[in-house]
Symmetry: C2
Amino acid sequence: VPRTFKLTIAYDGTDFAGWQRQASCRTVQAAIEDALQPIEGARAVVIGAGRTDAGVHAAGQVASVRLTSAIPADELLRALNATLPEDVRVLAIDLVDERFNAQFAAKAKTYRYWILSAGVVPPALRRAVWHVPQPIDVERMRAAALSVLGRHDFAGFQAAGSDVVTTVREVLTSRVVDSAVEAAAASPVLLPLDMPPLASGRLIGYEITGTGFLRHMVRNIVGTLVDIGRSRRPIDDVAAILASRDRSRAAATAPPHGLVLWEVAY
Amino acid sequence: VPRTFKLTIAYDGTDFAGWQRQASCRTVQAAIEDALQPIEGARAVVIGAGRTDAGVHAAGQVASVRLTSAIPADELLRALNATLPEDVRVLAIDLVDERFNAQFAAKAKTYRYWILSAGVVPPALRRAVWHVPQPIDVERMRAAALSVLGRHDFAGFQAAGSDVVTTVREVLTSRVVDSAVEAAAASPVLLPLDMPPLASGRLIGYEITGTGFLRHMVRNIVGTLVDIGRSRRPIDDVAAILASRDRSRAAATAPPHGLVLWEVAY
């Protein structure tokens, strides 16, 4: 009898062409399916909760897979991590109801995005933060971030050329935090691990939770929020873009490397 | 009139063969000297406070350099970071007394070392932590760490084959911390940036400050502390190794990638 497993997965997206398997590209889905192959003795299809784009990271991606192999879950975890490249790790494996599908069962996803405004990017963070050389007014960003809360038609923030049935999505939380540096300075061990107290610049985090996301939606929202923080757009521009449903009105898409799929709720 | 500058430097040591310039190797000193060359119009020698080994990181390395160029310090900072590869950054530049020498003027250096005991290494931390698959008793490590405090002959902890005038050094602080995970969990933004709450395992930090260090001294102390934490050696073995002055008694050298030159005091 095949069993269904829920995999919690983290990856550094820098050297991956995204989640989804593609011919002749290094992808996370393919890495995991390839690592499962010798265990299962056949190709097993791994279904991810979110198809992250090239360069986007994950701290808590979730995937489901059905296996006929009788391997215990803890041995499966060890065997996968022994085979996988170091930039992708399976953090946990749970045996779940056989009908569990990581994509369709997901109730909400949380993404985080990191920005360093001004200053110098510490080398340890270069893969994880978008460096914006200009100063950013965090209060303007924070006010604008509230506009995406709730149920809206996000057509104005989806990737150009997308083709989905509906562009209505619900956003549950949308918040800007800039306490990372203060938290690190107050901590008995400075965190992140090898980041010194920033010589200069301001580290800004953005967190968004929603029941679903359109392609590039988080990065388009972040690009627009940063424009607002730089006073190149009015604070109410997020609301205006939502109302317009016009992608050409939003800012340029923020780069992928600042984005992390943080958590998937079921 | 030549001016002397103090440079504060951070680097990800993963892809460097250490600090010191070597023929046909990528080193941090060479990267900075090469970046200075077009500004100065001649080779300028950059003197580092500590010669970190291959793979060792820095959050606050300090270097001194004498330049005849009339470039202002803030412009020099921008020009260097525009030229340097992204895995090395100049965080600050100060104009200092012309006799300042970063190596000889250093009063104390602080190193940090990170260990993940058991668990799975989050991909974002794979360049920064030593993964020890076994459980570690942090209280045993903490007790043993006290033995290196003060003025001792550290011959037992220096790299085999070293040749220095004296192996006596003074250690000012030596402490084990394992509050990183708790601090991260308590923080409004989880830190390090893309580290999820650890699925399993324990993140352990070690910090040591001393007036000077022998080659491999920190990594040999860490290797021995970890053996003690794993109960493979008695807690008083650090004191016994110091007394013996015998390198063959200490544990294997801990790997370089867990080590960070954190700060240099003047």
